[in-house]
Amino acid sequence: MKPFDTRRWTGIVAITLLLLGTGVIVERPGLVLGGVIGIAYAAGSRVGEAPAPDLRIERKLSNATPEPESTVEVTLEIENTGQTLSDIRIVDGVPPGLEVTEGSPRHASALTAGASTTVSYSVRSIRGTHEWSPIRIITRNLSGSRERESRHETETTLICIPELTTGAALPLRGLTTQYTGRIGTDLGGTGVEFHSERQYRSGDPARRIDWNRLARTGQLATKEFRQERAATVVLLVDARKEAYRAADEGGENAVERSVDAAGHAATALLESGDQVGLAALSPTDCWLPPGAGRDHRQRIRNLLAENPAFGSTPPDETLYPRSAFRVLRRRLPADAQVLLFSPACDDTITRLARRFDAYGHLVTLVSPDPTTDETAGMVLAAIERQNRLSQLRRSGIRVVDWGEDSLASAVADARQGWLR
């Protein structure tokens, strides 16, 4: 960038003239001589241009692939390979998601040619891929009258992928595939739980004949069991701008909690033989078709951790819900259920949930609660959210209102209100 005038010394000429004038009027040579100082500073401010820095900067991380919530030390080694820099300030481009816990990513120094300095600070790692943005470098001449800002690109990436752990198993709804799984259906057939009895048809396996009944009445009857089937589930995480809300300052936002819950759900569902897909309700496209197996689990893990759609900061663009819905509808397999993770902070999400439900993709909403009761506005927001949730419940959508306690207990609470 071009150097520019900081206008720091604009007043110095006025000071000088004031001294000279007063000195002449009151006839004090001492005051007139005081003007020399002003002249000297004015002259000093004309000397030198803000230098263009020529630096070699290296950024080192103590661990580039840390566990979540661990401390990573960042060291910047700065070497001046150009001319002397009498006033240089360095502002490191810390990724927006990372929090600096110790030290400062900023530094001001003076570097003679060939001199070097180091800046070190610590950040706390959180889920995701974090890229450092360019380093801002501000140089000034000695008097500070000229300034130049430049950027220095030093690419560093910190990748933090949390393990997927099995948490609360989210109960699914009755929309299933033809494959055997763990969801009890209302259909009779093979299974464990008794369902009904019907008249014997030739070819029925002998094991399923109700021999007691035959002994009692002399009639042949076949026992039916409740069929248990697997489901296709698409985990849909609301990662719109509106979902990035947290109950307390610096606390986990709703998207973080949603992603966490989606991870738990994915593991639990994959373990019970269901097909799991993943999608983000975000301007950034993210779609993984339903699948099963260990590789698929790994894919979900990576997507949840690294995909920019689930980033730790809100996206810039807005999502157009109607087109997003259309795209998702095209992608969803016909027999897919939707597990929707959203704080339900606006009406768009209720509308979307009801629409998915209406199109036959049974919806279960898991809603991390980002509301508090500190101000009247926040109380109002909480009430509006509750209204939205009960509206959804009325339209037959299962809702897990997930407050501050664990997801498992929220699910247990919610379950009591559900019909089978």
Binding site: L19, L20, T22, G23, V26, E27, R28, P29, G30, L31, V32, L33, G34, V36, I37, I39, A40, Y41, A43, G44, D87, R89, V94, P96, E99, V100, S104, R106, H107, A108, S109, A110, V119, L142, G144, L175, T177, Q178, Y179, R245, A246, A247, N253, Q275, T313, P314, D316, R322, P333, A334, D335, C345, D347, R351, G360, T371, A376, M378, L380, E384
Partner: protein
Amino acid sequence: MSHSNGPPPAEQATRDEQTPDDAALPESNTTEERSEGVGKFTEPLGASYRESRTEADSDSLVTIDERPARTSSAFAIAASIVVVVVAATGGAIPSVVAITGLGLVGLAGVTAYRTALTAGSVLLFLAVIFGGIGGLSPLAILIGIGATVFAWDVADHGVDLGRRVGRNAQTRTNEFVHAGGSLAIAGLAAGFGFGVSIVISGGQPVTALVFLLLGVVLLASALT
């Protein structure tokens, strides 16, 4: 998925029935919005959520202590004390004005309040002028003015560093270099002024001095 095209037939049937064309959807939206009169009504009150941090304020995320850098503030206060000492030899009014100035510069050194810095510096400057009118020696005036400008320069530098880099960053080298440069200019100028004051002690008219200084200015501007 190869097997996802085999849902129970019943499901398929209901879905086909339910599928309206997308054109019908906006219609249902508007009615839904209209029915939510409560939401509309409460809007001016402002249901508020706590937004989580965004990309835009990523700079503020790295919370920096925006108070001025310590070393520069210390230099500025020290220089202001020099001005107070100089002004104290010039009588009561200059000392009172200078002490007020010192207080304001000190305040700016703690709170990064730029207006206080400007006002304080102006007061220090006025204190020296009042002292000069009252009859301070040329050397005292030179030291007073030099210390005033130096105090403003380092304090302003400190405030700027505080805003840009923050108090908890390492800034000492930078501050020493800047203060050193500033002190060198003030020292050289005061030395030059003092030399001239010895030479002209014969009692030449003040206007001659002004012309001398104008000559210095022209020379300086020709050189740079």
